[in-house]
């Protein structure tokens, strides 16, 4: 049974078609990175998977069940979405924010019990924000806040976690920390992780599979070394990129090339392996 299976997906916003024809799937326990140029429909795809946008047509199954068969709350208990929203006018504390992840598991009149507090505490410990529990969200750094939002998503106890550019606006050390955190989550909890990212190298290092989309269409899906090739990348992004292997560990490494740099352009045209 696939964690998420999408086929023939079409999404419209007004008259504009954002996703024209997209099919893809993620196995349970997969780490899928969704990459592609700005406006390709990556975030829209995540929102469709989280049930925030309803598609014009196409089929979407979550754990084998059609998305439409889930109630809002059931879906929230199965799929968690991590975005970068923050409303600084209404500052909750870290603990209050993480506890909100229990909402899909609680009835309207039900209050959080010890069990829920335990789950929240574990989630905070897992993302290493437990020492910040009493701090207000607007007093945190970007990296800390991102870890809090991931803790909230863990607290939802989902089978699938969707993340929209979780490393954007973070310094390299924090980028690495977040990615390692997701990797541990996948290993420890068997969670399926689907992440939209512009960072091709982080995707190559951590994702098991990469989905490349452009103009609302799936261009290719597969292991990083099959998708992150100069040809595919030029097709998707319209610019040359130099691809080789990371000197340590041997994962695929993508480097940008300035257009007028002839010495490098030559290297790009010759396949490297």
């Amino acid at each position: 049974m696939k964690a998420v299976a999408v086929s023939g997906l079409r999404v419209r916003a007004g008259r504009r078609e954002i996703i024209t024809d997209l099919s893809c799937a993620a196995e349970q326990g997969d780490f899928l990175a969704v990459i592609g140029p700005n406006g390709a429909g990556k975030t829209t795809l995540l929102k469709v998977m989280a049930g925030l946008i309803s598609p014009a047509s196409g089929e979407l199954r979550v754990l084998g069940r059609p998305l439409a068969a889930y109630s809002r709350r059931q879906l929230a208990a199965t799929v968690a979405l991590v975005t970068q929203q923050l409303n600084p006018d209404f500052p909750f504390t870290v603990e209050e924010t993480v506890l909100m992840g229990r909402a899909p598991h609680l009835g309207l009149l039900e209050r959080e019990r010890r069990h829920d507090f335990d789950i929240a505490r574990q989630a905070m410990a897992f993302t290493q924000v437990d020492h910040l529990a009493a701090r207000r969200l607007d007093q945190l750094s970007g990296g800390e806040r991102q870890r809090v939002m991931i803790a909230r998503a863990i607290c939802q106890q989902p089978r699938i976690m969707l993340l929209d550019e979780p490393t954007a606006a973070l310094d390299p050390a924090h980028q690495l920390a977040i990615m390692q955190l997701l990797h541990r989550l996948l290993k420890a909890e068997g969670m399926t992780v689907i992440m939209v990212s512009h960072d091709l190298n982080l995707a190559a290092m951590f994702a098991g599979r990469v989905l490349l989309i452009k103009e609302g269409r799936g261009l290719a899906i597969g292991p990083p070394e099959e998708i992150l090739t100069p040809d595919y990348l030029r097709q998707a992004y319209g610019c040359s990129m130099y691809v080789d292997r990371h000197p340590l560990g041997g994962t695929v490494r993508v480097s940008l090339v300035a257009e007028n740099d002839h010495s490098l352009c030559k290297a790009v045209s010759t396949p490297v392996d």
């Binding site: 809002r72 929203q85 909750f92 504390t93 529990a133």
Partner: protein, 336 residues
């Protein structure tokens, strides 16, 4: 932030609710003991111990004039505060207040039309005010439903525009009014609790049900504060929640506005005051706004009756006179 800590929700509620309840009770008792008839504590106490024509008069003033007025003040204060809290949460805007969707404008046009044609305060003016408020509010909500789609500021802008249109209508009606009519209208526009009458208090009966409904929705409201998409991702039906919250709030605010005129500032000040004091959790803020907002308006009404020698001033003057500086002070404090 005072009182905002790890301590569990129920422990905080057990501290805050009785405290604010006591303050509300005390302010209502104080309000019973003060009025334009010069009746003091001694008279009131004497009237209980019995006998005489004076005791009967005192008892009448107490139960037929002052008590209805205190109850109306508490209900109006609670409703406007809660209304402000809800609108600030749903519109994601800290400056939203209960009149934002055109409720004040619609109610005022209705009420002033009634006064202009010399209708009685009840049912004529009251009903027209209620109808006007509900009409404008329904227009805004329908507009938002059909055209507003994803724009979060649509409700806000539509409400502001309809209020501006209503203001023009009010000015027009005012310019046609004469003499005592004008003062009557002005008092209504500034909020006037002297219209309270025991025979009309049943009109406030739907309020507890509205309060209860909003209390139930406190957790989804918390989630809404983190953003509409984030709330939806946590299992909240944002559309459904919006209609229930805005519908309920608009209904209860229209109801009290039709009874009291436009009492300003309560819905802005009280939710902010408690948010700064107690943090953003609506499971605490909803009861705090109901009890504290009620107490605040009862006390303002007390001042409105006690300050001017002989006679009284509209309570809206006091809520703004006390509220505006307090609000500025709170803002200044929260920045440092």
């Amino acid at each position: 932030m005072l009182f905002q800590s790890h301590s569990s929700l129920s422990r905080r509620l057990l501290f805050i609710v009785p405290l604010l309840g006591l303050i509300l009770l005390l302010s209502m008792v104080a309000s019973l003991l003060e009025g334009s008839s010069g009746l003091g504590i001694a008279d009131v106490l004497a009237s209980f111990s019995g006998g005489g024509g004076k005791a009967a008069v005192v008892q009448t003033i107490l139960w037929r004039i002052r008590l209805p007025r205190a109850v109306l003040a508490a209900a109006v204060g609670a409703t406007l505060s809660l209304g402000g809290l809800v609108f600030q949460a749903r519109l994601g805007n800290p400056l939203a207040e209960p009149y934002i969707l055109g409720i004040s404008g619609g109610a005022a046009v209705g009420a002033i039309l009634g006064m202009f044609f010399g209708l009685a305060m009840f049912p004529g003016v009251t009903l027209l005010a209620f109808a006007g408020a509900m009409l404008v509010m329904a227009t805004v909500l329908l507009l938002a439903r059909t055209r507003g789609g994803g724009r979060s500021d649509f409700l806000l802008l539509a409400g502001v525009m309809l209020n501006a249109f209503c203001s023009a209508c009010i000015m027009f009606l005012l310019s046609l009014s004469r003499g005592s009519q004008v003062q009557h209208i002005l008092f209504w526009l500034m909020g006037d609790l002297s219209m309270a009458e025991p025979g009309r208090l049943w009109l406030l009966l739907p309020l507890p049900a509205c309060f209860f409904l909003i209390l139930i929705l406190a957790r989804p409201m918390n989630l809404l504060l983190t953003g509409q998409e984030s709330a939806a991702a946590l299992g909240v039906h944002v559309q459904r929640l919006t209609w229930v919250l805005l519908g309920t709030t608009s209904f209860m605010v229209s109801l009290v506005v039709s009874q009291s005129g436009l009492v300003g500032f309560v819905g802005l000040l009280v939710p902010h005051f408690f948010r700064l004091l107690l943090g953003p959790d609506h499971r605490i803020l909803v009861p705090a706004c109901i009890l504290g907002g009620g107490a605040y308006l009862v006390l303002c009404d007390l001042l409105a009756r006690a300050l001017p020698a002989g006679g009284e001033m509209p309570v809206g003057v006091i809520t703004a006179l006390v509220g505006a500086p307090l609000f500025v002070f709170l803002l200044w404090r929260s920045r440092t």
